[in-house]
């Protein structure tokens, strides 16, 4: 009896022929929401509602949509489409709850609301960088440093965020010129954090010219991260970031080494800005970061508006940046092929969205947009702005994204007020002309501040948008690289693990 039972169980568990599991009727299938993009003349990418993709020969989308795909003749593609929720053999896919869960995961960054709180602790700076609007403000501490009352009010607002995990970032000018105020702000925050149940990361953004052992010892004791500015090798960095009577590069490199010694390598990062001068040196810039033993580099274009572009020398076309970016990325891939782990961090953000079920709470590339949802800026004078770029616009007397003032407005006024509501109407790329039908929607974002600053319209106009041009081409290029070289795909997968 028991022997028969075991035999029956074995028979039951044996995998049957493919036809046994076939759920389709009349060899037909139903479409699920998905889109496509032509990578080049020969290949295209199919992308579904949750960002999963299939690389396929050109013409596949037409074949699928016209219901010409054959289960027998196109067996591999057919199976990929079924298993990745692009098509379904039942009218109502039994996997809809899985897709909904995956979609929810992609939008999980919305659950916690504002995490990054930027305190522009001082507008003063001892550098005179060509692309920075704050560099000439060197005097008048009272006028250009954030006062204690505004620090207190900023911290109070930060504690009201529903997000339990916060980042308090000190920016300038040169933040270290106001180190006493930073110390005050961190002490006060540490006092209040347990009361409000907050976990807080602290970051100081600095050019490192003023860093010393005492400051770094303080950073170590208080678990503060250092985010430095480094534009590339000495010839590039010093040309971009002028410091009167000194080499900014020498001070930055010395500061990076000292910071790593005292607070640890993993707590020191660097950020570069690509000027028109930098465009000529993609390989040298990557090599500089690599030789300084960073794990990667964020190839960041100059903000295409405001003070940065007041002088002709900093203006460049998006196409020029893309050419620079591709040369630099290819150099990085070459380093990886030689056995080094070295990432490009903008690509890494996109690849996380493309290759994993997760999203990245990166302010510039999310929908709904990162402004207010992910970041808020308390300016040195007490004004509250939607993003870092918004306060830069304000330095040019454009207060379009000023949400309120620490002296005058409550949390609700600022985060849920009329201006925030107006911005919220156009902060999702799912609702924007040009974006709503874009195959790359899940990987990209909406940036009303960029639209306003470059086109004079917060809704934006995609055919001439540099934001759109840059992001679409980089995403297309990443797909093309993965499609044409399996080793590159493996390298990219390593970057996100």
């Amino acid at each position: 009896m028991e022997k028969d039972l075991i035999q029956k169980r074995r028979e039951f568990r044996t995998f049957k022929d493919f036809d046994y599991y076939d759920q389709s009727s009349k060899n037909s299938y139903n479409l699920m929401p998905f889109n496509f993009f032509r990578l080049n003349e020969k290949r295209e990418v199919l992308i579904n509602e949750i960002g999963d993709f299939i690389l396929a020969p050109a013409g596949s989308f037409e074949k699928i949509v016209s219901k010409k795909l054959s289960k027998e003749n196109d067996a591999e593609l057919y199976a990929d489409l079924i298993s990745n929720f692009f098509i379904s053999e039942e009218i109502y896919s039994p996997n809809i709850d899985i897709i909904a869960n995956r979609y929810r995961t992609k939008k999980m960054f919305l659950e916690s609301f504002t995490g990054l709180h930027i305190f522009v602790i001082s507008l003063r700076c001892e550098h005179t960088c060509s692309y920075c609007q704050v560099s000439r403000v060197t005097q008048n501490k009272d006028k250009f440093d954030m006062n204690i009352s505004h620090i207190d009010k900023g911290i109070d607002l930060m504690m009201k965020s529903p997000n339990p995990n916060l980042t308090m970032e000190f920016q300038g000018g040169e933040a270290l010129l106001a180190i006493d105020n930073i110390k005050y702000a961190i002490a006060k925050t540490k006092e209040l954090a347990p009361v409000y149940g907050k976990n807080i990361n602290y970051v100081i953004c600095t050019n490192l010219a003023l860093i010393d052992e005492d400051i770094l010892q303080y950073c170590k004791e208080n678990s503060i991260l250092i985010s430095a500015s480094l534009d590339g090798p000495k010839s590039v960095h010093d040309k971009n970031r002028n410091k009167p009577h000194a080499s900014s590069y020498d001070l930055a490199v010395k500061g990076i080494k000292l910071s790593r010694e005292i607070i640890g390598k993993e707590n020191v990062s660097a950020l570069m800005t690509t000027t028109s001068h930098s465009l000529k040196y993609p390989i040298e810039i990557v090599d500089e970061y690599f030789n300084l033993d960073f794990n990667g580099i964020f190839l960041r274009n100059i903000s295409p508006y405001g003070f940065a572009l007041r002088t002709q020398k900093n203006k460049y076309e998006t196409k020029e940046f893309l050419s620079f970016y591709k040369k630099a990325l290819n150099r990085i891939i070459q380093l990886n092929k030689e056995g080094h782990h070295f990432t490009e961090d903008f690509s890494r953000i996109l690849l996380t969205k493309m290759l994993t079920p997760f999203n990245v709470g990166f302010v510039d590339m999310q929908s709904p947009a990162g402004l207010i949802n992910g970041v808020i800026v308390f300016n040195y004078d007490g004004a509250v702005y939607a993003t870092d770029e918004s306060r830069m616009l304000a330095e040019e007397k454009d207060f379009s994204f000023k949400l309120g003032h620490l002296d005058e407005n409550s949390y609700n006024d600022i985060f849920y007020g009329t201006k925030s509501q107006k911005i919220s109407q156009i902060w999702a790329n799912e609702t924007l002309a040009g974006c709503s039908d874009c195959a790359f929607q899940q990987y990209c974002g909406a940036d009303p501040v960029h639209n306003w600053a470059t086109q004079g319209d917060i809704y934006g106009y995609r055919p001439t948008s540099s934001f759109c041009e840059k992001n679409m081409e980089i995403i297309r290029y990443l797909f093309e690289l993965m499609d044409s070289d399996k080793e590159v795909k493996r390298i990219f997968e390593n970057w996100i693990n």
Partner: protein, 114 residues
């Protein structure tokens, strides 16, 4: 001298939405006119600045393909609109649209036969 770029698209094949979405991307370089005449959309693009013949031919070829691409996208969008709305509604709900899984909760793989 370059001439206008003209297309005649059968309204039984091409949707108005797909034509407009496609032409949106050309609206910075051309004055666009769309007219429905005898079940056909007559589309005309007049360049803001004069185009060389080879450029006209390039744009015509690209547009020809993009009208088809956008129409295909529109077919998917219309056919899957309900399911897309359902996915998003379920994703942002607090479980009120969730369903009990099919089958026996104590036997999720369906292998119990005694």
């Amino acid at each position: 001298m370059a001439q206008n770029i003209v297309f005649e698209l059968d309204s039984n094949v091409y949707s108005k939405e797909s034509i407009v979405k496609c032409l949106y991307w050309y609206s910075n370089d051309f004055t666009i006119s769309i007219k429905l005449v005898n079940e056909s959309y007559n589309v005309s693009l007049k360049p803001f600045t004069e185009l060389q013949e080879n450029k006209v031919s390039e744009v015509t070829k690209k547009l020809n393909r993009e009208f088809i691409d956008y129409n295909l996208r529109d077919i998917v969008k219309k056919e899957t609109n309900t399911i897309r709305e359902l996915i998003i509604a379920k994703a942002f709900s607090n479980g009120e649209f969730d369903e009990e899984p099919k089958g026996d909760l104590m036997d999720p793989l369906g292998i119990k036969f005694l």
